[in-house]
Structure formats: C-alpha cells, structure tokens
C-alpha cells in the first residue's frame, strides 16, 4: 500500500492511499481540522466526495477504524493455515483447566496431543519460545502449531482437563 502525501498551501494536507484494484482514497485534512474523504476510481480519475467530518468526529471515526473499540479477531480461537494440514491456533487457557499450574513438559502436551506450543501470551508479555519448564497459568493465550486433529485434541485437553 502506497500513501502519497502532498501539501495544499492555504488549505492543508492531502493524503492519497492506493487501494486494491487501482482505486485511490483521498483524504484532505484542512487547516481548520475538517477532513474530506474522496474516492478516485483510478489515479487519473476525478475525485468523488464521499463525506466530510469535523476534527473531533474524524478522530473518533479514526479510532474505530484503528480497532480501538472492537477487534473482530478477538475470539478464543483463531486459526491460521500453514499448509493444507498444519495450522497455527490460539487458545485461551480457562481458569479451571487442569493444565493450569503444570509445566509444559510435565503435562506431556506433545505426547498426548501432537501439537507444539510455540508461544504464550501472558498479559502484555509474550513468552516465545516457551521452555519445557514454562508453567501454564490461567488466562494465558497459548499459540500452538499442529495438525487439525491434534489441535482439536489439545482444545479438549484444555477444556476437559485430564478426562480423555
């Protein structure tokens, strides 16, 4: 994504954002704080005005776009496919999970499920890679890599404790 920035003497600043398919989003920030947002079908087309916002509202809308209020990815389970068979998945560790308080090696996670833990997010801290001695805690987010079946097994292990 390329962003072109240019000065508009006496008016303010202009930012042109290249979108997919050659479209361009043009944002004019006036010295008065007003923002005008235009769309151009391509680099040479005329600009169509979409809307304008006063300064305060533009900032609010900006933070919504940024995801400060709502992150659509914030679920308990997120998966990313590496190959057809291998996935990277995120799991939250429930407070009542049997794994809480166990070291990774002691819980025998790889032997029991086949997945490997590649990172643990704890609060604002990310432990990567975790050692076999790393102890899992409640509310951790663990990132695992493994085949689909293995990931499902790990999810059950997390939620169902030792029951198999």
């Amino acid at each position: 994504m390329t962003i072109y920035e240019s000065d508009l003497p006496g008016v303010g600043k202009k930012y042109e954002v290249e979108l997919e398919g050659g479209e361009r989003l043009v944002i004019v920030t006036h010295n008065t704080g007003k923002r005008e947002v235009y769309l151009k079908a391509d680099a040479d087309a005329d600009s169509d005005k979409l809307f304008e916002l006063p300064d305060r509202m533009a900032r609010k809308v900006g933070t919504i776009l940024e995801g400060a209020y709502f992150q659509p990815v914030k679920t308990n389970r997120v998966e990313t496919m590496l190959t057809d068979e291998t996935f990277i998945e995120w799991y939250g560790v429930p407070a009542d999970s049997d794994l809480v308080g166990q070291a990774i090696a002691d819980a025998k996670i790889r032997e029991r499920t086949g997945v490997s833990i590649i990172a643990i997010q704890r609060g604002s801290e990310v432990i990567t890679p975790p050692t076999p001695e790393t102890v899992l805690e409640a509310e951790d987010t663990v990132v695992v890599v493994g085949e689909r079946e293995d990931c499902i097994e790990f999810e059950q292990l997390l939620g169902n404790g030792g029951r198999e």
Binding site: L8, P9, G10, V11, N31, E36, D44, D46, S47, D48
Partner: protein
C-alpha cells in the same frame, strides 16, 4: 472623509456583508464580488443619490441615509489587507517552495512572463506611461488565492492533481506580489524623480531585509513569545506584533501588506501555526469582508462607463493569457490535457490582490506629495481594477463550474494537435 461612525453604520455594514454571503451561497458564486456590489449599492453615489419617494420624505428626508466611508471602515479595510497578507506569509513555507522549486519555478515564471507581459503592453497602450503600465500589469497578473482556493474546495478539485499545479503557481504569485507591492509603492511615492524612486525602493528593500533578518534569526523569540496556554493571549500577542509592525512599516512609507507578509512568515516557523490559523481565520474573514465592502463604498458605478472599454479589452486579452499560462503550467506538472485546461480556467479568477494593489497605489498617492502619476490616472486605474475584478472573479468561478463543457470543446482539439505533432516521428 467623515470621521464619525455610529454603531448602527457598522451594524448596517455587517448586516449587508452577511446578506452578501447568503446571496453568494444561493447563486453558487464567490462572495467577494458580492461584498463589493453590496458596498456599492449602499454608498453615497447609489443610495445617496437615489430619488426618495414622496411618502418617505417625512421619515428619511431628501436623501436616503447612505453608508459613508469613515475612518473606522477605512482602518477595518486596512486590517483586512494586513490579515490577508499575514495569512499568505503564515502559510508560506520556504522549504516547501524549495523542494518543488523546479515545477513551481517553471510554471510560475511562465505565468509571470505571459500575464505580466500582456499587462505591461496593455498598460502602455492605455496610458502611455511606464509606471501606470507597471501597476496595471500587477493588477491583471495576479490571480485570486482566496476565490480559487474556495472554488477548489467547493468543486472537490482539491483532491485532484490539478490542485497541486494551481496552488503551486499561486505560491509563486504570492511571493512575487509581496516584493512587487514594496517596489510599486516606492515607485509611486518616489515621484517622477528616478533618484527619489531609487531611494524609496532602497528604503523599502532595507525594511524588507531587516524583516527577513528578524524572520531568520528571531524564530526562537517568536516561539517564546507565543508560549501560553491561553488562546486569548496568543491572539493578542500575535496582533500586537502584526499590527504594530505593519503600522510601523506604513508610517515609514513601506507597504503594510508587505510587512504583514513577513510577520506571517516569521510566525510560520513556530509550533503555533495551526493554532494561529484556526484562531485568526475568522478575524481575517471579517476584516477581509470589510475591505471588499470598503472597495464598494468608494466606487461610483458611473465611472465604469469611462473604463468599460478598457475592462473589456483587458478581459479579452488577459483571459486567454491566463488560460495558456495555466495550461502550460499544468503540463509542467505532468497533468493531462483536461486537467491542464482546468488549471487555466481556475487561474482566470482575479480578486483580492488586484484590489490591494489598486488601493495601495491610491493610499500612497493621497498620502504622498502628489506622487509620480496624476490623480486622474490613479482614479482611472482604481475604477478599472474594481470593474475588472468584478468581471474576472465571476468569470473565473463560472468557468470552473462549467469546466466540463470547456473541456469537452477543447480536449479533442488539443489532443489532435498533440497527435499531429507526434506523427512525423512515426
């Protein structure tokens, strides 16, 4: 010039200016020509000479109470000039200019050579006098930053590539006009005597150099001066410097507009530019309205009869000149035919600076000892510039609004010309 101003007169002035704004919105026109027209309607030559219907004579007397040009309005207009030029300086960024100096320099120089050149020829043809020609050239050369910028925003062109070319050329014109104003007022003040004129120009240049040195070395001081949490103090400190320096310049015989420009430049290097722009813009707009209104108040519409021929000839010559220079400027900015034509159409608009030149010349002539050119010529130039600006501001705005028709007519021809030029190479 009457000296008493009653509050109700100022009330009438602002009410009329506000109505001009309403009408301008309704018509989709720039408000500047309407301020002038409204001022003209209320002045002593129009309202003051209008016959009073008999049933009204007991109420208003023999004549309608017209709006006279008072010292208060005159000073308001002067503040308008100061603010307009201050904002030019404030938004003038030397680094930005140097970054794009190639394009701005080329487009601006073509614009200057062509339009100032046409103006010089016209002026010589009209007056047979070099100084008068020099003044007229400035008046027809300078496009209106205020009207063009507003039209760009209204039409949404501000987000298009033609805005860069137009605003870039305007930056060049603005810098030129700051120096030009200093030279022209010195020339007029200097009288016919070349030595005096050179002395005056020397004094003006010394003042400008002094201001430039202040701008260059004083930025830290300006920064500290504006360091306050209170908007009230920020505005007052700025006005304290701006109006004081401009007034000092004027009493030294240097154009107040030039001084205001450099004060603006000095403040533009501080961190407060954004605040200043936001806080002072309403003040600038208010006093700029007073300035245009004052122009109207001074103008006797019957003088247009005498200069109508000049205005028409000037419009017929300077409109194509701007179209051509704007088109070439657009090409320098790598714009296609259509957008380059738009640059030309927009640049046709003349406005505030032409009037500032004319009123500077008038002010200098009436304050100086006779001046270099006769009052007859000065009055003619003044009447010409008011009529010319009225015509060209409306023409320019209208051309921009209907640019699609002009483009449809011109683009195929220009492309054909470009096509035939390329063919021999094939």
């Amino acid at each position: 010039m009457a000296t008493e101003t009653t509050l109700i007169e100022i009330g009438v002035l602002f009410a009329a200016a506000a109505s001009a704004g309403v009408l301008a919105n309704r018509l989709g026109q720039s408000v500047i020509p309407l301020y002038i027209l409204f001022g003209m309607v209320l002045n002593e030559y129009v309202l003051g000479t209008a016959p009073v219907p008999e049933f009204l004579t007991p109420v208003v007397g023999e004549t309608f109470p017209y709006l006279a040009e008072t010292d208060f309005i005159y000073l308001g207009a002067e503040l308008g000039i100061v603010f307009l030029l201050f904002f030019l300086g404030l938004e003038f960024n030397l680094e930005r200019l140097l970054e794009t100096r190639n394009r701005i320099g080329k487009a601006g120089s073509i614009d200057l050579a062509l339009n100032f050149g046409v103006g010089l020829v016209l002026g010589w043809f009209f007056f047979g006098d070099l100084l008068a020609a020099f003044i007229l050239a400035g008046i027809v050369y300078i496009s209106s930053s205020a009207i063009i910028t507003k039209s760009l925003i209204d039409l949404g062109w501000i987000a298009n590539d033609e805005a860069d070319a137009m605003l870039g050329t305007l930056v060049y014109e603005d810098l030129f006009i700051a120096i030009y104003l200093a030279v022209v007022s010195a020339l007029v003040l200097g009288g016919g005597n070349v030595g005096d004129a050179i002395g005056q120009i020397g004094a003006a240049m010394a003042f400008i150099v002094g201001l430039l040195v202040l701008v260059y070395f004083g930025s830290e001081w300006f920064q500290q001066l504006l360091e306050t949490d209170s908007f009230e103090f920020l505005v007052l400190r700025t006005l304290g410097v701006l109006v004081l320096v401009s007034g000092a310049a004027l009493s030294l015989g240097v154009s107040e507009a030039v001084a205001a420009f450099f004060v603006g430049m000095a403040f533009s290097s501080t961190d407060h530019v954004h605040d200043l722009e936001q806080l002072l813009a309403p003040l600038r707009d208010t006093f700029a309205a007073v300035f245009f209104f004052w122009i109207g108040l001074l103008t006797d519409p019957s003088v247009f009869g005498g200069v109508a021929g000049m205005i028409v000839i000037a419009a017929l010559l300077t409109t194509p000149a701007k179209l051509v220079s704007g088109y070439l400027g657009g090409r320098i900015y790598d714009l296609d035919e259509r957008r380059s034509i738009r640059v030309g159409l927009g640049m046709v608009t003349r406005g505030e600076f032409s009037l500032i030149i004319a009123s500077t010349v008038i002010a200098v002539t009436s304050s100086g000892s006779g001046g270099a050119i006769g009052t007859g010529v000065v009055d003619t130039i003044y009447a010409f510039s008011v009529g010319y600006v009225l015509l060209m501001s409306i023409l320019g705005t209208t051309l921009m609004q209907y640019s699609d028709r002009v483009e449809a007519a011109l683009v195929p021809r220009l492309e054909r010309v470009a096509g035939t030029e390329k063919q021999p190479g094939n």
